[in-house]
Symmetry: C2
Subunit: 596 residues, 2 copies
């Protein structure tokens, strides 16, 4: 029988047909909850309060470890440990929602400077009469005391009617000294939309530009996926015709518009109140969302059309917003070092101190920055989509049915965690990393990266090739030698990038004070396994910091502060881009990376 | 039999069915020739050279006065004295063409500062390669050495293909530090279009922005006329609906676009080479060409939406031009003091010295500025369209068949000059002024402005009302008491404006060092008659300067110089607007003005 879960304070109601884990239910509702451990019950972050319910939810021992008796008494539970089976009203404490807490390893919200580009002013003017013949716009300039106020024709055309229909009162929205909108009604606070346009997911954050607070947020799949899983496929598609390129642009903007509509509705606001955007993404996404020509990005030497920060009008990009709304597109650095990398490094305080720090955002292209000896050098390495589940026989995204964690005992016995707790249908990035790391640790994978055939848990497939079974039954999930090769190529590329950076700046792994890992996969993978397979050098676990969608944090820091924009632009200037493919003996570094 | 006149160096060919005065033929071809005397053969300015012809054109005694025997021998004639009757090729010496000579009373071209907003740069770049991965736009910035170079998305989108299709060479068009256009082909010189949007006529001047030279020019009727002869009628029409307002805007822009097409073709150039516009006009025209709401202009207190200078994109106004072309709309001062008034005063050097000067542009609204005692004060007075031939029984525009000059002998005998030398069909402004002034001088009009019935040349019409016959025959042209009343109201309004300015600044007529008269009517009227009927105070004729379309000159000065724009804007700030209707005892000034 269908039942409803109501999430407060968001006012979201969702219907379910069968019992569901509260964390999964929140995910389905588009709520990004704190879940550092990936729903294992170990981090204790995904705290919820069951305010009303038809069923009784006795606390598990794990929950008793993380919550006080008083909390348990008041209905507090861990979402990942609670399966809701009937109507319930669940309150989400602010600390449990990811949007305000993304620098999760620090335990509290990120620091932000609040100096938005947008401001709002209410004015009440003297009515024009024969002894006071000042023009409408001059009257406004005088009222706000800015003789340099500028205005576009569009806005100017609205002003006379607004003034006369509202008794010479108006609410003005300003970007710096540009009057971008005038209205008779009061806008409770101008909104900003910070968007991280990822190749896979578009993350939108709705920001109150007066308080700097994130009101709501939502991730939506990047619809470009229909035209290619990876960036190169999409670039190839876009190169075929301007129409194709326009399609990728429009789809992206439509997705942002739809998501903005939804999260504005959730926050009881209108997209008409959005006065400013900050869009970040890798360089291909950047060119797609700006509808810049991508031909030069698709072929060597992979040169962007532009690297400078841009300030187009929202209207030019077909973004739904207040008339006159603007867009801030932070700088990109190179063909494969985008503004998402900059936003990540900015959010993670790169360039703010003299520590030796490594920043890694793992994806199909993995961007790596090394800060050392007063420099910040960035590389991009084509690590491929293995950790996103692609090119792996049973690979899949982190969705219900995916094996997200794997433990292999000394005896070769395998334990798995499946997202949603259901029958495994595939394996996602963090599961793949676990599996390979543990196969290696248990000697099931030899030093040359081959599955050891003579071990009883390694089977042969129909073609006589070795496979390792993760989940048995009628629909088994297995890992083949070919799958493992893909993983080794991916980690080899990442390690080669790190090693070349260390070689270039002449430092050794023990000099590294901190490794900052960003991105979706980076948030769910277990860093010790990344070290285990040699993807990253052997660094004390305490010095590894996982920061989730740091690019989204950076975009949110930039949308609320022109100062942050200036600082990020200076950081971009400071970053040195190193082209790996022309680095001396690149192929040897790569070969060593695969073996490491 | 049809014949063709070819005008060189313009390369214009026109067919005619019947013999035509060469000055009229040039007018029909859209060529504005010097003709200070209005085609009387007295000024000697409309010099042409008949280079080839089928007929013989013996010089008249008048021509022999103005031209040397050598000139006559070489085919030089006065256009106004020559009637062409068969195929001819006519060369127009530069000095005869009005466009370069508009400050005609000075005898040579106006002074201009040449610092255009637009510049052009050819660049040749190093091709991008793996050791030089600078983005396309950064590469351009480096090449022209401007780290602050800005660019719009539109232009940015064109750059990668242009660079790669032209061997990394490009021709850049810049407005200040904005890259507004990039092309693979060489633009011989960016063009500017200076436009004076008059209520009756739109005058377009095509300017070479590198030399500052006016290449060609053309006046075209303002198509708004179809929606009302005068401004108030058009404002009323536009107020009925946004659609109506849009119609007036589009018609104006279409007329400018068509004229630009034609004069570009004449100059062997393309409208795609137009990089900058300067549009001036009275405040209603200004609001129409910018498509600003006019509701507040149409009713008291007649407040403009904006008085500030504006810089919209040509695209926003639907002007045909180079992509990225801009428009400069100089400031307006008040509801009835537009940017044409500013352009006139700027071209006439108002604000440049301490002389006491009166500037008058006579039209349906007559704008008058008085510079005295370190101030410049402007008024606008509703003089009505009498001097444009409207509201006068036989009134018409200055077109073939119009009586343009009238001489009345002591005996009441009347001599007339008719444009085109044909049978008179009506009377235009300068003829109306002549007639009224001479009626007064000969005592046919008494001090109260009444036609004197008992004089033999004043007849009675069918209703017993007095009329004065200017041209007899089967289709006589006459002037009635009602016509004369209209003229007296018009001159009374102008005189009241002048008197109030003198009263406000506490000066007397003898303090006035110079009167500058602008505008079409002002160019053709005889100033002594304007004094004769009391339209302007009694000022020595030597101190009266007629400057033709000075607003067009001002627009041309501003399109070739950002310095001129700044100076004109400072002049606009310096001008004080005085509202006549609230001036103490305005009605007494008006009554005195009519009687003067």
């Amino acid at each position: 029988m269908a039942f409803t879960i109501e999430f407060q304070p968001l006012g979201l109601r969702l219907q379910f047909e069968t019992a569901i884990n509260a964390l999964d239910a929140a995910r389905q509702a588009g709520i990004h909850m704190m879940a550092v451990c990936g729903g294992e019950g170990t981090c204790g972050k995904c705290v919820i309060q069951i305010v009303e319910s038809q069923s009784h939810y006795p606390p598990s021992p794990t929950e008793a470890e993380h919550l006080s008796p008083e909390q348990l008494q008041s209905g507090f539970r861990l979402a990942c440990m609670t399966t809701i089976e009937s109507d319930a009203k669940i309150y989400l404490p602010p600390a449990s929602i990811l949007e305000d807490q993304i620098m999760q390893t620090e335990g509290d919200g990120y620091q932000q400077d609040l100096r938005p580009a947008i401001s709002q002013k209410m004015i009440a003017l003297e009515k024009a009469h024969l002894d006071d013949l000042v023009s409408d716009f001059s009257r406004i300039k005088n009222a706000i005391g800015d003789p340099k106020l500028e205005v576009s024709l569009d806005v100017l055309r609205e002003i006379p009617a607004i003034l006369r229909q509202n008794g010479w009162k108006a609410n003005l929205i300003l970007r710096g000294n540009h009057l971008i909108h005038a209205t008779g009604k009061f806008v409770s606070a101008p909104l900003g939309l910070a968007v991280d346009v990822g190749s896979t997911k578009i993350a939108c954050y709705l920001i109150d530009l007066e308080s700097g607070k994130t009101l709501t947020a939502k991730g939506t799949p990047n619809p470009q996926i229909a035209f290619g899983e990876d960036i190169m496929a999409r670039l190839a598609f876009a190169m075929q015709s301007q129409e194709n390129a326009n399609t990728l642009h429009s789809l992206t903007m439509d997705a942002i518009n739809q998501t903005a509509e939804e999260i504005c509705r959730r926050a009881n606001r209108s997209v008409e109140d959005i006065a400013d955007f900050c869009l970040v993404g890798n360089t291909a996404m950047h060119h797609f969302f700006l509808n810049l020509p991508i031909a030069s990005l698709a072929v060597s030497p992979f040169v962007p059309a532009v690297t400078e920060p841009l300030y187009p009008a929202a209207r030019e990009l077909h973004l739904s917003a207040m008339p006159g709304a603007g867009v801030y597109a932070p700088p990109v650095k190179a063909g494969f070092i985008g503004s998402d990398h900059l936003a990540f490094l900015y959010a993670a305080d790169f360039g703010k101190d003299q520590r030796t720090r490594l920043g890694i955002d793992i994806g199909t292209n993995t961007e790596i920055a090394l800060q050392a000896k007063g420099k910040i050098v960035s590389v991009s390495t084509a690590s491929g989509p293995a950790f996103e589940g692609a090119h792996i026989a049973f690979g899949m995204r982190a969705a219900p049915g995916a094996i997200e964690h794997v433990r292999i005992g000394d005896d070769g016995k395998t334990e798995i965690d499946v997202i949603g707790g259901q029958q495994a249908v595939g394996i996602c990035g963090s599961g793949i990393l676990d599996a390979v790391a543990q196969l290696r640790a248990r000697g099931l994978l030899n030093q040359r990266g081959r599955l050891v055939r003579d071990r009883e848990c390694v089977y042969q497939d129909a073609h006589g090739k070795p496979i390792f079974t993760l989940s048995g039954g009628t629909a088994p999930v297995t890992l083949s030698q070919q799958d493992i090769d893909q993983v080794l190529l991916a980690k080899g590329a990442i390690r080669a990038g790190i090693d070349i950076l260390m070689d270039y700046l002449r430092i050794t792994p023990d000099a590294i004070d901190e490794v900052v890992i960003a991105g979706a996969f980076g948030s769910y993978m277990l860093p010790q396994h990344a070290i285990g397979i040699g993807m990253i050098p052997n660094i004390p676990m305490d010095n590894i910091k996982v920061v989730g969608n740091a690019a989204g944090v950076g975009a949110r820091m930039m949308i609320v502060s022109t100062q942050a924009r200036r600082e990020a632009e200076m950081l971009s200037e400071a970053i040195e881009y190193l082209e790996l493919t022309v680095y001396p003996e690149f192929s040897i570094f790569y070969a060593n990376g695969i073996r490491a």
